[in-house]
């Protein structure tokens, strides 16, 4: 892509565009498409929040699922046990996840590379152990079944939306909240703060030399990423009609990482593309065979060896090559 081309692509409000397309799913698709759409939207938010660390800041967090889980439990507990409305529980989930990310991140950002990955993994397993064992609050290994849907009767009051079922209404709510969150994250990545994070990724020593407090920036990124993971978790708990300790197990951290890399971690829209591809593939493949992990592992191998830039990276490279082929002067 030429410089003008990428600038143009950057000016298109992609979030709004995707939102405006996806909003028609309840009317055009089957009931099942709405279900898949909700899951894709939630996973996309989760993956983008991880990518703030992975792609933007260059921090390999292997425990991002901890904050997703904290958000899911916080929202589930507030709504089910304390009967608070969604409008309170949802932001509370983000705040709870951010608080955990602040405490854990404070220690994690002191380490680098593989040690950072190990400590984030350790903290996420601590969260898992607590969720799995603390019967009184988290339901232990039974989890928290039957988290109620938020009260969405107000949506039916909007003209034209009167005949939507509850899962369709929840889809629209999820879509709107995810779109707002993605827009916010996009703002963060493009802000001077986000540019600083990229500087730290590219060369932490130089960043420190020019007077940036590297740890403070990394911690701030960690907290923001944790907060949005928590929001995704809150939506996921409601979507799945319950919150269970499985959500917090370490292999989930690997799954969201695969999503991020599959889409392409060097692009803002990589993780959502990865989420879309993986959720859809999972759906298609599990209807043929129970050996989904085998397929996922094979995809991952191909990705690591042949397409390290992921889907979006591959498409962009393809475009560039096509452009050069059509118009050699720009090469």
């Amino acid at each position: 892509m030429t410089r003008q081309g990428s600038a143009l692509a950057g000016r298109i409000p992609w979030t709004l565009l995707v939102f405006l397309v996806a909003i028609w799913v309840p009317w055009l698709g089957a009931r099942y498409d709405t279900f898949l759409g909700t899951q894709i939207a939630i996973e996309a938010l989760f993956a983008v929040s991880l990518n703030l660390l992975l792609g933007t800041t260059g921090l390999v967090s292997f425990g991002h699922v901890a904050y997703f889980g904290v958000g899911a439990y916080a929202c589930g507990i507030l709504m089910k046990t304390y009967h608070l409305p969604f409008i309170v529980a949802f932001p509370a989930a983000g705040i709870a996840a951010a608080a955990f990310a602040l405490v854990f991140g404070f220690f994690c950002v002191r380490l680098t590379k593989i040690y950072f990955a190990m400590l984030t993994l350790a903290f996420s397993q601590i969260v898992w152990a607590i969720c799995f064992k603390w019967n009184g609050v988290t339901g232990g290994d039974q989890g928290l079944p039957e988290v109620p849907y938020p009260n969405l009767d107000w949506i039916t009051a909007i003209p034209g939306l009167g005949n939507l079922g509850i899962s369709d209404r929840f889809y629209l709510l999820t879509l709107a909240l995810v779109a707002l969150s993605l827009a916010a994250l996009r703002k963060v990545v493009r802000s001077p703060f986000g540019r600083m994070l990229t500087t730290i990724r590219d060369n932490p020593e130089r960043a420190a030399f020019i007077g940036i407090n590297v740890r403070a920036y990394e911690l701030a990124a960690f907290v923001v990423a944790g907060a949005f993971a928590g929001l995704a978790g809150a939506l996921f708990g409601i979507f799945n009609r319950g919150v269970f300790a499985d959500y917090v197990f370490w292999s989930k951290s690997a799954e969201v990482m695969i999503m991020t890399i599959l889409g392409g971690m060097n692009y803002f829209w990589g993780p959502p593309v990865g989420a879309f591809a993986l959720v859809w593939l999972n759906q298609e493949i599990t209807s043929y065979t129970q050996y989904w992990p085998f397929v996922l592992g094979s995809i991952l191998l191909v990705l690591l060896f042949a397409f390290p830039g992921g889907i979006v990276g591959g498409v962009v490279a393809g475009f560039r090559r096509a452009r050069r082929f059509m118009n050699p002067r720009h090469a």
Partner: protein, 293 residues
Amino acid sequence: MAASFLFSQFVGGLTTAMFLFLIASGLSLVFGVMRVINFAHGTFYMIGAYLAWQAMQWFAPSPSAFWPAVLLAALGVALLGAIVERLLLRYLYGREELYQLLFTYALVLILGDAAKFTWGTGQLSVFRPLVLDGSVQLFGTTVPLYNLFVMAIGPAIAVGGWLVLGRTGAGRMVRAASYDREMLDALGANVGVIYTGMFVVSSFLAGLSGALVTPIVSIVPGMDVEIIVQAFIVVVIGGLGSFWGTFWGSVIYGQVLSFGILIFPGFSLFSVFALMAVILILRPWGLLGRPIR
């Protein structure tokens, strides 16, 4: 609390510790030399257990077939390790650690499903070898002979590994490779062979521990992801890459788990994770490890 009760907790903790050490020693070797965190190490361990069961079926389902089956399983996993390293892993050494992590995770997914496909999802179990099928009384506690055997084999491997690494030419090469790969390469040593060798030895240890665990633990899918987290904790506590560190890390892990149950019933899992976090915060390179760049 009665002394014999505390002693039985201690012995239980030590058995756990030595089993974990068998597994974690291979993980620690590969990290120490190659700086690769091998998530698939647990899966190699699981495949070792399945192969031991399979070999028992081939020979004759009798306890006397146990020892050859164990050896065959360990060799089989070593061969698998060699194939994985030669065909795939070695192309990733120059890449970021993220790619290596995800590569070993891809192996977990693929090999785990392959094992499920081959051996099914049921529980399998293996007879205890006849020689070790008894138990002894120690300070008022009954200890199965097999557990005593495991408690002996852990230190034996620790001492053996220490002697090989510290006293032989090959061990010196390995230590040199863990300090500075490029320098060793420039001096004319074949670092590629050293890496392959370490990965094979590590896989052998994983297969061996998987095969040796079969008389005590039933073989089920999912035993790999469960064990690998525990092995990580042990390696991290002791110090990534330090062989003795891994040994003492296992001992500490076993005792914390075993006595943690007494102090916070139900939360002993939490206590070992918390221990790991505290050690990572205070000494990120572990108890006996050294800081790396």
